[in-house]
């Protein structure tokens, strides 16, 4: 395991080098070995070749010597020169042959000396023979006869022959030895090569395995783990424990996964927190603040988190919420600005403030330190659109704590999100409160005025009725003045009734759902004009109505009320001395059509053009009869349909009222609408 561990701890570069060396060194060694063996084999084979050549030469020399003897004998016997031809040929060829033999066996001094001996003998023999041949040529046969008789020549020849044969035998024995050696070497080379290759294969396999185990397998595992993390996002310990680059990579990846997981977790938590603290229910703004404090303390894992809201009106901090049990103790209480300088600084600068050790702060009184027992403090501002409106204070009460940059960052991120939630909650709550209050008061007022109007109607009616009863019963018995007064009482009572009726009508617009139907304005205008026929005739008014008017989608009675009021208004405010001229028609205004009622009356001053739509605004025309509520009703009806009404006027020259109501084609099937209304 020791070697294994050592190997495991090597770097990938060293591992690869080692594995390559492990596989390459035997290959190189084997090759060197092979080369050496082959060289040796070649040398041995060279030797074998020269040996066998030497053997052949030895044989050739022997045959030449035999030729010398034969030639000599023939010449001596016949004195015929032609027998000497082979003698001289042999004589000539022996020297080179011996010379070559010497070359061949030159490496062995023993062989050389033996060849030299044979050469000397051969030369001596040839010298002798030549001398005898010369003697024969001179006719001296005596020496030759003596030579032959002595058998000296034959003995020398035999001696040489025997020496040569012995030498040949030695050579052959040597050759045999060399051949055996060559064979052994060849076999050795073959087996060696086979074994070497097998060994190399085994080494390669081992090297491959080692490489796989130390490099490729871990890499594959890293790939798998990464893929798995990408799919399931489950952080697992990567089982790679080497101390090389891959091990480091695995650790880095683990860390990275952990960090990704943590960040995603934080993001999810943030999201959840965002949803949680942003939702107004339960508890509205207070609930938001409370959840904010709880969640914030959880985010940084601190034992106390305060939501401090700056109150501009009293110039103090108000504790909006606190985490845990602190909430009930602290909520709503106030902290003095001078006793919470860290929070104040965060508020004023809009930058997070960290105090690792509150004990060494110079201030005499620090609320969070002295009242709440905070040891360390982190304060982040709750930043609004323009400036911070509060802070989140994270306090560690159990012991000192150094808030890291990351924690500060996290806290600020959280605070930014929380700030939006708080602002939203505040806005919503105040808007709701205001809206609810307004609506309640409005409803109350409406109810009150409707009831009052209704209650007034009875007495008004009775007043008129009683006045008319008096008129009936006491006709002639009262004086003319009393009759006139009674008439006024009756008229006023009836006028009051009419006015109350109008007020009730105004109040009712929009409160009761009326049937919306396609209405032809021309028909309604005819009805309106019929209603004020007499009035028109009396004034000598001329009324022009455009023939083609677009159909409108509204309640027929509503349109009647609008047009009736406008027409009566136009007739009412006619200029002195000229008969009223009315025009009713339609003009395109932008992408909608506006109906208009135009007169040539007294006109309306620019300053009054808004006021005329207010109830009971009579603009000082007290002599003109009317309730002063007609245009208010018109406006309310038009606004009920989300239309617009406006007036264009030139004082003294006339007035034009324009209004828009939904065109018939603009609305969805009328049948459905009316059915719904009926239901």
């Amino acid at each position: 395991m020791g070697a294994g561990t050592t190997f495991q701890n090597l770097s990938v570069r060293h591992k690869v080098t080692l594995i390559l060396a492990l596989t390459m060194v035997p290959v190189v060694a084997l090759m060197i070995l092979f080369l050496v063996t082959v060289r040796q084999l070649l040398a041995v084979q060279d030797e074998v070749v020269s040996m066998s050549a030497a053997v052949t030469h030895t044989g050739a020399i022997l045959s030449k010597i035999v030729d010398v003897q034969d030639g000599f004998r023939g010449f001596v016997l016949t004195r015929n020169e032609k027998f000497l031809v082979p003698f001289y040929e042999a004589d000539e060829s022996i020297d080179p042959a011996v010379h070559r033999l010497k070359e061949m066996v030159g490496h062995d001094p023993d062989f050389l000396s033996r060849v030299a001996q044979i050469e000397a003998q051969t030369r001596a023999l040839l010298q002798k023979k030549k001398r005898l041949i010369d003697a024969v040529r001179l006719g001296e046969m005596e020496p030759v006869r003596r030579h032959i008789e002595s058998g000296e020549g034959q003995a020398a020849l035999n001696h040489i022959r025997a020496d040569l044969a012995a030498f040949e035998e030695t050579l052959k024995a040597d050759l045999k030895k060399e051949q055996d050696l060559a064979q052994r070497l060849a076999a050795l080379t073959l087996y060696g090569l086979g074994a070497g290759f097998a060994g190399i294969l085994v080494l390669w396999w081992l090297g491959g395995r080692l490489l796989a185990r130390t490099i490729t397998d871990p890499l594959a595992m890293l790939t798998t783990v990464t893929r798995q993390f990408g799919r399931e996002r489950s952080v697992a310990q990567i089982p790679i424990n080497t101390r090389d680059e891959i091990g480091a990579l695995a650790r880095t990846m683990e860390e990275m996964e952990g960090r990704i997981e943590r960040h995603i977790g934080q993001m999810e938590a943030f999201h959840a927190i965002g949803n949680d603290i942003s939702s107004l229910d339960p508890g509205g703004l207070e609930g938001v603040l409370k959840r904010l404090a709880e969640r914030a303390s959880g985010v940084l894992d601190v034992d106390l988190c305060l939501v401090l809201l700056w109150s501009d009106t009293i110039g103090c901090w108000r504790i909006g919420a606190a985490s845990g049990a602190w909430h009930d103790l602290l909520r709503g209480t106030v902290m003095i600005r001078e006793e919470t300088p860290v929070a104040t600084k965060a508020l004023e600068t809009g930058v997070p403030q960290v105090v690792p050790d509150l004990a060494i702060r110079p201030e005499a009184v620090l609320q969070i330190r002295d009242r709440l027992g905070g040891k360390s403090l982190l304060v982040v501002p709750l930043r609004g659109q323009e400036k911070a409106f509060g802070v989140l204070a994270f306090a560690s009460t159990r012991g000192k704590r150094a808030f890291t940059d990351w924690e500060v960052h996290l806290a600020q991120q959280f605070a930014d999100q929380a700030a939006i939630a708080v602002l939203n909650a505040r806005l919503y709550e105040s808007a709701q409160q205001r809206g609810e209050g307004l609506e309640n008061r409005l409803q109350e007022l409406e109810r009150y005025s409707a009831n009052m109007a209704h209650d007034l109607k009875g007495p008004a009616r009775r007043m008129a009725e009683l006045a008319s009863l008096l008129q009936l019963d006491y006709k002639g018995r009262l004086d003319e003045r009393a009759d006139r007064y009674l008439g006024w009482i009756k008229e006023n009572g009836q006028q009051l009734m009419a006015r109350i009726e109008e007020v009730l009508r105004l109040a009712r617009i929009g409160t009761v759902r009326e049937t919306v139907e396609p209405v032809d304005p021309a028909v309604v205008i005819r009805e309106v004009l019929k209603g004020c026929e007499e009035h028109v005739r009396r004034l000598g008014a001329r009324v022009r109505v455009v023939e083609q008017l677009p159909r409108l989608a509204c309640n027929r009675v509503h349109l009647f009320q609008v047009l009736d009021n406008l027409v009566r208004n136009a007739l009412k405010f006619s200029a002195d001395g000229r008969p009223p001229e009315l025009a009713i028609g339609v003009v395109p205004k932008g992408n909608e059509s506006a109906l208009f009622v135009r007169d040539n009356g007294i006109g309306i001053a620019p300053s009054d053009r808004e006021r005329i739509f207010e109830p009971f605004e009579r603009l000082g025309h007290e002599e003109v009869p009317g309730t002063g509520i007609g245009l208010a009703i018109v406006k309310k009806i038009i606004e009920f349909y989300q239309g617009r009404i406006w007036v264009e006027s030139e004082p003294g020259a006339g007035t034009t009222f324009y209004f828009t109501l939904p065109l018939y084609s603009e609305v969805v099937p009328v049948e459905e609408e009316s059915k719904e209304a009926e239901a």
């Binding site: 209704h454 008004a460 009616r461 009863l469 009936l472």
Partner: protein, 129 residues
């Protein structure tokens, strides 16, 4: 006021006036302590003001129409309201006719006369028995 109008209209048949819905119901059912009607004689028509103390017109009509022997009596509603909704509510509750109070005594007398003429002389209801 309407009683006075009936009087002025020279209506010869008896006109019984009660002050509120409760009393009217008691009169019709014959249970009331105050005005006892003779058995067998039910009014030809009930003229009803919707605004009454104790029991308002709608309650009265509902209770009246719930009793089979009273359900057939026509009810004429006198109202100050000119709104369709109040009118339709009256008819739904069982009114046979609705008339807006005029605010003029002479007209009121005419109305009383018309009611007598139409509902007591011309109008026919099934004979009970």
């Amino acid at each position: 006021m309407i009683a006075l109008a009936f009087q002025r209209a020279s209506v010869e048949r008896p006109v019984v006036t009660v002050s509120d819905g409760q009393e009217a119901l008691e009169y019709l059912t014959g249970e009331g302590p105050s005005k006892k009607r003779r058995t067998g004689e039910l009014p030809k028509v009930v003229v009803l003001d919707l605004d009454m103390p104790r029991m308002d017109g709608f309650d009265f009509m509902q209770k009246m129409k719930a009793q089979p022997e009273l359900a057939g009596i026509p009810v004429v509603v006198l109202t100050t309201s000119q709104f369709d909704q109040d009118l339709s509510r009256s008819y739904t509750a069982g009114a046979s006719s609705c008339i807006t109070k005029p605010g003029d005594f002479e007209q009121l007398v005419e109305i009383a006369r018309a009611i007598e003429t139409y509902w007591c002389r011309l109008n026919r209801v099934p004979e009970r028995g």
